[in-house]
Amino acid sequence: MQTHTFDVIIVGAGGAGMRAALESSTRARTAVLTKLYPTRSHTGAAQGGMCAALANVEEDNWEWHTFDTVKGGDYLVDQDAAEIMCREAIDAVLDLEKMGLPFNRTPEGRIDQRRFGGHTRNHGEAAVRRSCYAADRTGHMILQTLYQNCIKEGVEFFNEFYVLDLLLNEESGEPVAAGVVAYELATGEIHLFQAKSIVFATGGYGKVWKTTSNAHTLTGDGMGIVWRKGLPLEDMEFYQFHPTGLAGLGVLLTEGARGEGGILRNASGERFMERYAPTIKDLAPRDMVARAMVQEVREGRGAGPNKDYVYLDLTHLPAEQVETKLPDITEFARTYLGVDPITELVPVFPTAHYAMGGVPTNVETEVLRDNEHVVPGLYAAGEVACVSVHGANRLGTNSLLDINVFGRRAGIAAAEYANSVEHVDLPGDPQGATIALVERLRSGTGSERVAAIRKDMQDTMDMNAQVYRTEATLKQALGDVQELKRRFANVSIQDKGTRYNTDLIEAIELGFLLDLAEVTVVSALERKESRGGHAREDYPNRDDVNFMRHTMAYKSTDISGEEYVRLDYKPVVTTRYEPMERKY
């Protein structure tokens, strides 16, 4: 076992992690631990853009952006956080340009901007051009640009180091961050990293569902580690299903396609979004569009042999516009469905996409251990975190914005904190739990296979905890997941080796996924209202009297020693905007 000492440890090398590293590494001795090579991170799959009220092509301002974010999040957004994000968005985009990001340009040579779902002029009057983009590869360009700048700044990476545990110690009876434990994929060795500050930037957990736009590796590791430490997870019932996944596959087709003029049609060719969102139609927020699509299919207006999807229509757009502004999604449709979007309608259906919830933080990205107190030295940013700038439903492009604004804040805060304190002692037997976890899986002799349990989890979550939920479906999902957790205790892997043991990694990942599936379902069961991405058919209305509050879930143990998910609540921060009915 090796021990390393740094001022700041950043876990994860996607957009948030690398944006944090760029700030932190110039201020304090920093290392980035990542289970993937940095350029493999799923930030690279984001397509449509990053919103900021640059007003390069039409009038706009950050207050309108803030309003849209709050309304888009169905008023569960913490408004102070949204205001910070939308105000700092402008510099966040300009910073990326200065780092070299190749944005598309206007005829005047400025950063070009296009329309995106839920982003409007003057509090909902009409769609506004706010998304700064690079074709449909904006996330790719952000990831590459950040990595390139990390090379320029000499950021220290530990590639293919999978962090499995967070080390906390106590100071005056309160938990403080002390380090992390990582498993080196190449060797199977356990490494201890002692640090004054730790930033979690580990991304989401979309692989809980079968149909997802998420990478195989998005298994909620960071959320899972924090959860197992007894720290809370916030608003886990709010998970976004992106409307336009390639039907049957879940591969993402950007909302930018509709920003460029694309239209959703049902089997008879009707532009059905006119009925659901008369003002901004196909550019309504994702939760509304996803529900409309499911509704069309349920009412028999779905297309295809099984009438189980709708169409994205780009055929009326000039071929040149599609080829140059949307080249990647055009290729995805051609490659994976054999459909040419220039001349044919593309089959689409909602796909599990983004966690609005996650590790609760304040606007300084400090992780909360309850409604009021932070864990000194522990930070989180990006999809793993819940600030909460996305509330009950994230607007398109606000994730790329989130990682840049709060990634930067995390890097600065973590480094400044590290420079103001001494190292905290590691707790006793710091690597014990990790070694036990690894050895239990490696030496398991049970009859259960990882792939089989994972498939069953994904099937039940797709069936019972997707766009629409009811008490009955959620109870079904909960029972299934709890049974799968029992089966998981009996899992065995075939690869007993030490080097690049991906069989073992997948087993560990599945453990995190099962924990998060359970938290998601329990949180969803108790939220007896419909708000944003959480649509309860048995409680179809938003209930501000009882549920205008964040869910805080804690891993707890009852008197008989049985683990369970305990729920508590946290007030929503409201500054400027009183909740209104959400119409578009």
């Binding site: 390139q148 309608l345 892997i493």
Partner: protein, 252 residues
Amino acid sequence: MAAVVEETVVPETEVPVATDVTFRIRRFLPDVDEDAHWEDYTVALFPTDRVLTALEKIKGELDGTLSFRRSCGHGICGSDAMRINGRNRLACKTLVKDLDIKKPITVEPIKGLPVEKDMIVDMEPFFAAYRQVLPFLIPEGHEPTRERLQSAEDRARFDDTTKCILCAACTTSCPVYWTDGQYFGPAAMVAAHRFIFDSRDSGFEQRLEVLNDKEGVWRCRTTFNCTDACPRGIQVTKAIQEVKRALIFRRV
């Protein structure tokens, strides 16, 4: 405004049938094997399944020791470049229907990088070459308060090489890279091109020193393997030629 769908082609979907497909995979488990060897696995697949789907099925159902890298699953992250039927491709972007399934489909690690385990190679030499060409913007003069201006034409000049996902399919298809051991390889050249032809960049002289080295750009023998291998459709050989020309004429 009701749409007219009749004018557009509505895709006809046939009911797909799963067929047994055999994969002949180059295996090497460092904890167990002294040498690499071939093993055959047969799994039922639909024509639209990806080779990655097949590998996932083999790993999940038949042999958990099979090891490969993968992440996004749709050709964006660059994790799963491998030799499929002798050609460098991404497993997640290669569909069964595009392969001849009458004989076993061969799957091997990419060539020219040390094999660590099955399809997993040591990527460090590849990224080391990338880092050497200074793959970041080197601007000149005062930082503007707003964005730097760039015309759409200037932006288009280097668009092709911004698409690179660092999968190494090009570099590990290059015969010079296989035999030389020192050559930067095509992917590093693509990165150099991306910055040399960016109107905002002023690092030409610094990069020139690196690229003009005997192991630099001049080792390219224009065999076009790299262009054929690129899963992003980048005109890699053309980009290398443009870098060479820029070095000869000392200007972009």
